[in-house]
């Protein structure tokens, strides 16, 4: 099936993006990424020494096969996030950034005001910006207007594995925005990923659920299938049939 995901003029076969945190070893991480079929791999700038080619995470990711998407995890305001993104670019990363501005270090919930501010600066500065946000449709529109490449609403708090607790708002975002919607954070099972894709999300990003599974590569494969199944179901028309179900005893049948 030729159904590429297009982000900022770049085309990807896989609609599953994966994170690199929380794995028990670089080896397990590499195997899980491989099994996931992902083409976009996000890495926290705080965790890596970009100038060090021996860095355990950087060394484990073949950048000729994967787009290494640096994230600003840990930044608590726009200024910090912008500084980190620029440092990554200066160190040789592509000018793509997963923008995370999370002033609270415990639930890691995104700050809407600072995220919008940082996005505006980074877009003007030539970055392809993929912002992590709460499932807020108006914020998603505002980000689209300043030129972000995607919006990445959370399903539930990072690492919580609670699934699509923000389902209703994500539905509105999918309906309203023109850029790809990548559901990020909180997806705990392949069924959650499938659910997001069935709703019409363009892609999902998964980290914790794969990294802390008993068998991370096997779980990565399961998520790959969940994403593919959900996407196929969406394309097959599931979204429409859900919303426009026909009653078996129509009330207006007498008119025919």
């Amino acid at each position: 099936m030729n159904d590429p995901l297009n982000i900022s003029g770049r085309s990807f076969h896989s609609r599953l993006l994966v994170g690199t945190g929380k794995f028990s070893s670089p080896q397990v991480m590499r195997e899980a990424i491989e099994a996931s079929g992902a083409e976009v791999v996000t890495v926290a700038l705080r965790r890596v020494e970009l100038e060090n080619p021996q860095d355990s995470i950087i060394a484990a990711i073949d950048t000729s096969r994967y787009l290494l998407l640096p994230n600003t995890s840990g930044a608590r305001d726009a200024e910090e996030a912008v500084r980190l993104a620029r440092l990554a670019r200066a160190a040789g990363c592509e000018a793509w950034v997963k923008l995370e501005v999370t002033p609270d270090p415990h639930y890691l919930l995104p700050d809407p005001a600072e995220t919008l501010k940082a996005a505006e600066i980074l877009v003007k500065d030539g970055f392809v910006v993929l912002p992590y946000i709460h499932a807020d449709p108006v914020l998603a529109k505002r980000l689209e207007e300043v030129g972000t490449a995607t919006v990445m609403p959370l399903g539930s708090p990072i690492g919580s594995k609670q699934g699509l607790r923000t389902r209703d708002s994500i539905e509105i975002i999918i309906e309203m925005v023109n850029v790809p919607v990548v559901v990020d954070a909180g997806l705990g099972a392949p069924s959650h990923a499938a659910e997001a894709m069935e709703m019409g999300a363009d892609a999902v990003l998964v980290n914790t659920a794969i990294a802390v599974a008993a068998d991370p590569p096997a779980m990565a494969r399961a998520f790959k299938k969940g994403v593919e199944a959900g996407r196929e179901a969406f394309l097959a028309g599931l979204g429409q049939s859900q919303k426009k179900a026909e009653a078996s005893s129509p009330l207006t049948g007498f008119l025919r």
Binding site: F23, R47, G74, L84, D104, H106
Partner: protein, 374 residues
């Protein structure tokens, strides 16, 4: 930043004896109720600290393991302490640096501190904890800031565990790229505190207790608190540690919180701790803290034996020191200055990292970047 009230105002509402009675009167039914609840209340936490929870230790451990894995992943951060000076004007009866101990005193020069830092950097460390005794005339603010400036390029994170200061002084450290402040109350029991801190500025319980708040106001990204186990009943100390943690989380919500619960170790002066804490009690405290505070960093030092440290890795610990020296200058030179306490785990950082890997965890040397601050 606006804070509603000082932590002391919250703490003073608790009566030590009444709380003791409430902890010791918990039943197994109370523990079961706490374990059934969706969100652990402070009352539920009390039951987890109680003797009644001892029979639930395996369940506590399993839950703490799962929760930590979910929130932090299969990783353990590594850091090293760098002792700058054992000069101290305090008389704390359990500490090797006690002003009354007739021991060799040493304050590293900035160059010597840099040599120690270089040594730790070369061993792989990127997270550093700077430690010193309390003697503002010898260990001046200017000296400490110069040390930080020299060490800054080698480390992704520098945290200070030095004597309490004012908020304005802390801001200077943050401007130099220091991201965290660690300060232990030692004991939350005000009466007991007075009995073990005989002289020096540290006698002032309130000044010490307010330190994390001053650090939070200054804007440190990490605030570390701790109680020194052995000075009084660990169950009550555990309760107040948690109370303190929750206060700080509410009031300084942008700072990450870490908790240490070191057990007293032999040191010069030969102090015998009156309240011993067994290994299983240590596990009970660690796991109960994890269940109440899923996102708090829980820190383990080389005070504990290799065997215990290895077994605590999957129980909720998030950060460990390794290959530590607690005598100033001990890394790069074989100095003869007195140590703060005896180390129990003498393994090298890489030997500890190997054990972490064998346990199925990734040892993480870097999980911060000075770029956040500068």
């Amino acid at each position: 930043m606006k804070t509603s009230m000082a932590f002391y105002d919250e703490l003073k509402d608790y009566d030590w004896e009444r709380l003791e009675e409430s902890i010791y009167s918990c039943t197994e039914a109370d523990v079961e109720r706490a374990l059934m609840s969706q969100i652990l209340s402070l009352q539920g936490f009390i039951s987890l600290l109680s003797p009644a929870a001892e029979t639930f230790l395996e369940e506590l451990a399993q839950r703490a393991h799962r929760l930590t894995e979910q929130r932090f992943g299969r990783v353990i951060s590594l850091f090293a302490p760098l002792y700058l000076s054992n000069v101290c004007t305090n008389s704390c009866i359990y500490c090797g640096f006690n002003v009354r101990n007739p021991v060799e005193r040493l304050t590293l020069t900035v160059d010597q501190a840099a040599a120690e830092g270089k040594h730790l950097h070369d061993k792989g460390f990127r997270h550093l904890l700077l430690v010193s005794g309390e003697s503002p005339r010898v260990i001046t603010l200017e000296y400490l800031l110069s040390v930080v400036a020299r060490l800054r390029p080698w480390f992704a994170s520098i945290v200070i565990e030095i004597y309490p200061m004012e908020t304005a002084a802390y801001r200077k450290f943050i401007d130099q790229g220091v991201d965290g402040l660690v300060i232990y109350q030692e004991t939350y029991n005000e009466k007991r505190y007075a009995e073990v801190h005989l002289a020096g500025k540290k006698r002032d319980y309130h000044w010490r207790l307010g330190t994390p708040e001053r650090g939070g106001k200054a804007g440190f990204r990490r605030l570390g608190i701790g109680a020194l186990l052995g000075l009084s009943d660990w169950r009550l100390e555990g309760f107040f540690l948690a109370l303190h943690a929750r206060y700080l989380l509410r009031n300084f919500w942008k700072s990450h919180l870490t908790i240490s619960f070191p057990r007293l170790r032999p040191a010069a002066g030969g102090y015998q701790p009156p309240f011993s804490v067994s290994d299983s009690q240590m596990v009970q405290l660690l796991t109960a803290l994890r269940l109440l505070l899923p996102d708090a960093g829980l820190i383990l030092s080389t005070r504990e034996s290799p065997n215990l440290r290895d077994h605590l890795i999957p129980l909720g610990i998030t950060s460990m020191s390794a290959g530590s020296r607690t005598d100033p200058g001990g890394y790069a030179h074989d100095a003869e200055a007195e140590a703060q306490f005896e180390i129990a785990d003498h393994r090298s950082p890489h030997a500890v990292a190997d054990v972490i890997r064998q346990k199925g965890y990734e040892p993480v040397w870097k999980d911060w970047d000075v770029a956040f601050l500068q």
